[in-house]
Symmetry: C2
Subunit: 109 residues, 2 copies
DNA sequence: GGCGTCCATGCCTTGACAGTTATATACGTT
DNA sequence: AACGTATATAACTGTCAAGGCATGGACGCC
């Protein structure tokens, strides 16, 4: 998972995934969509491949890429403890809205 | 969300969040848990604060930090289209296991 | 077989960021 | 008031990675 987060930190790579989650595409299409140079796209695709986030099929000279979502499950699992906090937080917000009569809150930044 | 992914790309910061999701902690505790220098921890905490992922309460000289999970919801939402793919992928795997009789697959890397 | 297309890779430069050391700031204690 | 504690911040350095350019390699087509 270490790698997955680092890979997703790059906006261009998230945009590539967002483009590929719609449908599989060749490199040229991604170059047009992202408006980046072809080598840059290919480099990002290599990173995504190494992370297992995409896979490529060969069609003559073209490489057709598509999403491989499995590594994202780790991130989904990592989020689990924090999802519980969302619920708590909402509850706390509700209490806050119910009380809402004084500054019995501590100073939170 | 751009910022959130970049912030989470750093392993030390994810470890800080994992420590804080259990319970709120002072900076000194985090220094011990992560085995990093105090300035390094404080710097990470600043990044996390700026991203809205933690908040600090003042207790004398101490700053007690706790998690603020809200920004993580954006990531959770970003994952949505890919979760649908997990289901598809599982279905595809099932079909694969059912068929399992020949190499009618294309060459996927 | 030569040429154009499509993509990957190597090299280079530049910018960003993590970590350390040193210092500043705020607070409590005696 | 002096000192120790707890945290933030500044300055510096090393590292790493993104993006551009140039090149290489595979394939189809004429």
């Amino acid at each position: 998972m270490v790698a997955t987060f680092e890979v997703l930190a790059e906006e261009s790579r998230r945009r590539i995934l967002d483009a590929l989650v719609e449908e599989e595409r060749g490199v040229g299409e991604l170059v047009e969509i992202l408006a980046l140079s072809q080598p840059s796209i290919s480099k990002h695709l290599k990173v995504l491949r190494d992370a297992g986030l995409v896979e490529a099929r060969i069609d003559a000279q073209r490489r057709i890429y598509r999403v491989r979502p499995d590594p994202l499950r780790e991130i989904d699992e990592w989020l689990a403890p924090y999802r519980r906090r969302w619920a708590e937080h909402l509850n706390a917000l509700e209490r806050h809205l119910e009380i809402m009569d004084g500054n019995e809150e501590e100073a939170w930044t």
